[in-house]
Amino acid sequence: MSELDARGLPPPEPFEKIMHALSSLPPDAALRVLIHREPYPLYAELQGMGYAWQTSALPDGHFAILIERAK
């Protein structure tokens, strides 16, 4: 599983980095993103691109998002 740490980056860098990471992600692989806030606009994009995601709130206030191809 690939991991991307987007914590502390200014907009639009987290969104940009996630899109770049997804463009090179093998079809059956998953991407785990660490981010400092819940990226609501990203979800609509993921849905439109055929990805499923699972967001978990971390104890330190950050979020972990697991992204993979929708089955």
């Binding site: 200014p10 609509a44 994009e45 849905q47 499923a52 967001t55």
Partner: protein, 422 residues
Amino acid sequence: MSTASLSTEQAPPISVPLRFFAVAPLFLILAALTGLMSDRLADAHTPALLAATHCITLGFIGMIMFGAMQQILPVVIGSPMPSSRLVAWSSLLPLIFGTLTLSGGFLLSNADLLHLASILLGLAFLIFIVASLVSLARAAARNATATAILLSVLALTAAVTLGIVLAQGYAGGWQLDYPKLAAAHISLALGGWVMLLIVGVSYQVVPMFQLTPSYPEWLSAGLAPALFAALLLNLASSYFDVLPLGFFAEGLFWLCAVCFALVTLKLQFQRRRRVTDATLNFFRLGMISLLCAASCAATALLAPAHEYFRQLSIVIFILGFALSVIHGMLYKIIPFLVWFHLFRGGVKKGVPNMKEVIPEPWMWRHLWLHIVTLLAAMLAFFWDAAAWLLILGLSLQGVLLSFAILTGIQVYRRTRQRLEKV
């Protein structure tokens, strides 16, 4: 907590917020032209200044906030307004014509125009308030921002109701306690709607765009409810004529405002990337202005004989605090929107980065012009000639902001056409 799915379309089309942003600066120019018809700027109750003030508060601040809320709600609380295009058109047009007829009604002392303005503005705000409440009710996030926005919308509802009563009263010659109602209207519109909205949005926008630490929990949890409670206490004191309660309520409000300004300045000082840009300085100017507005309000509270300090506080609040923060946010939001709507749907080559959308030197020029305009507005209380500088400054700001926003729209259109050809 986990989230597996959300509504299919989070962000409204780019045209929704941009049409509000494109119209708003024209009202700054109109406010300046209307101000030309006033003899003295120190008296806010002349028809021309009432018209000019409403061009700024409704035509500019209200217009920007209508557009910004459409964009900000899905990003910060994960819930867009329903039927965004329909809500945009059906609130934009009555807001434009309502502001024009209200200003015309004040200028010409025309009862028909004031009646028409009440209907148009009532409609615009009704649509906006209902759409905002629906969005808030559906929100995935229940956080301090959602609470502050909800309280700001409630304050707006009361402010609009009082505004309509006042306009109808003027038009129909009703016997009302105008000074008391006008004071409540101003306090709810500026201290409620504008202040609470800026507070709520800042909790998200300041850490997100300026890379500061988050607002401390004690502040984000307690500030908006405390500000709202202060406004309610102020209304109660005015209604029941209990002066000490009013003194306490006003003191509490400004104490909260000072806390917000100082904490924001401290967070900006602690930002992770030490790069200074014009938008950060617009925000800083806004916070310093809020401190100045609080000082003037405190002086007026302790020395009621100096009534002009109260008016000075309102002027600094509107031009120094609200306008500075709005300009700062616009110069971040517009480039972000242009970038986001071009980039979405997958990685593309040839999408300009955010810094290429509106030239940074224009933002700095606008910042300096805004500072001169603000100083002129403060001087105009004591020196009539400064009013000319204020009028000139406001008109130039309208022109500069129009140019910046139209540049952003043009960059979006040109890049979009190029990407479609590829």
